[in-house]
Symmetry: C2
Subunit: 327 residues, 2 copies
Amino acid sequence: MASETTGQNPQTASEVGEFGIIATIIKGLGRPPAVSVGPGDDAAVFLVNGSAVTSTDMLVEGVEFRRDWSSAAEVGRKSVAVNVADLEAMGAKPVAMVIGFGIPADLPAEWVREFAKGVRAEADLAGIALVGGDITEADKVTIGVTVIGETAGLDPVLRNGAEPGEIVAVCGRLGWAAAGLAALERGFRSPRAAVDAQRVPSVPYGAGRMAARAGATAMLDVSDGLLADLNHIAQASGVWIDLDSGAFEIPEPVAVVAAAVNKDPLDFVLTGGEDHALAACFPPGELPEGFTAVGVVHAPGQDGPGVTVDGRPHEGHGGWEHFQHGQ
Amino acid sequence: MASETTGQNPQTASEVGEFGIIATIIKGLGRPPAVSVGPGDDAAVFLVNGSAVTSTDMLVEGVEFRRDWSSAAEVGRKSVAVNVADLEAMGAKPVAMVIGFGIPADLPAEWVREFAKGVRAEADLAGIALVGGDITEADKVTIGVTVIGETAGLDPVLRNGAEPGEIVAVCGRLGWAAAGLAALERGFRSPRAAVDAQRVPSVPYGAGRMAARAGATAMLDVSDGLLADLNHIAQASGVWIDLDSGAFEIPEPVAVVAAAVNKDPLDFVLTGGEDHALAACFPPGELPEGFTAVGVVHAPGQDGPGVTVDGRPHEGHGGWEHFQHGQ
């Protein structure tokens, strides 16, 4: 008789089979009223209030996550979180998601079960329904998540609406995931809060919607680093964004890692990616709950649109581009 | 100076970089009126008429396609086709799609360009707009496509609505892709029509919508083989489906391969997957254009719901399940 204890179950994905894996993932899945057809047919069917908003992310083992660094549940949670963050960044309301799942034949079935638990836990947090998916074989665990949200009465918040005189504000964590990665890369598993943040970002669910309601003119989620991502808003809006270094609180886990690796903690905050905080521009006035003012939007100076810190260009790494690691 | 000729361009994905690859893919992309935000922001935004209908597929090099068997453009076309077929199978109207794209650093940039051309050509055929995507690194080319359609005034056609007394009909090719695969596996590149069908399915775009309008009660696209897929309808609807072997025309390329490999050509037609024909049940009466009657729906017999051919169970392979190749 197979043991039910984690790690003692000898079954692999190959032994469980495609249909067994699907059953594992959709077992006990709730179906919100908006979803009329869930998993099991050729496609899922659900209501969208207003326009549909969609984004997709692909996560590959060894690139976006490592199985020796993150548990299966953490990978499942992260897969959902990074994607829903894109809906938040549009001010949209999450509705439905689908997952494409490429798995090695020898992947432990227990890993799939825990991954599915993580997906469902984060989907519940984010308020999004898993409505379908596809399973295939791959040498490395490969996860393709697509989320679909709805505008539901609010205009989507793009990147090109920032105007001089507005306030730049952030909601969520900055620098935590990058500090966690720096710790993991040096073989440490602590500070735990930073390492956990690298494994699963704490997306401020609902904050994007609040920002849209409060009149945000431009918004995005910080995936590549605050400076690099705000530069997208600066370029798209044709503005100069100047950040106030004194406006950033240095989180304690970030300070601990920075001291250990002899780095300025502000560098983690300004250039660290993967936390999926929200950064937005607002007309002057009261900011929505959870947002902190960190800078000001100006008309572009003689160097054109861009981002500065305390009026000066920030030195060092400005973001992440795949295939360009060495540059 | 870099040559523009296919195959002589030395650039790799790594050299072109993530943003260069994205530029290649979205270059010259049209934006239909329903799409208000296309690629380049955190998410795409588009109108959905009625309910949204969504499906996702993941295609991995070496599993769903081989780069030595299929050109990049063919892989691009297939990625779109297999997915839109799921919308057709619901009677939905295609609207928008997103692509997750995992690529090896040494993949020729030319492959990406040709792949993008194939994606766009098939998307145009299918009447669907590419609105966004994500690029990452992977050891093997990995493609995650998600399509979103709309019900636009017609109820979606599920698998569970078939009733005794109805007609079973098919639209599109059956057996072609399997015959092509059998040829390729033996090292042949002909008959060309069968081999091409394996590389890119000829999905009968628009036929699913016509079937829904004509009152189809159950429908799906044939991805695993007609018998295996009709069994999904039989089980979901609680009916017995009996096919008439005399109703199937044997396509010439299938006959040629069957003779060469000493196999009954009807086996290719009844059990071959990957052609993405549509199979549907209709109330007695006139069938929509392009559909051919191939069987009848009965109340389940003593063996319960299932599929027979000329009143008898069909012997042999009944479909495809990942990870169960040897069974």
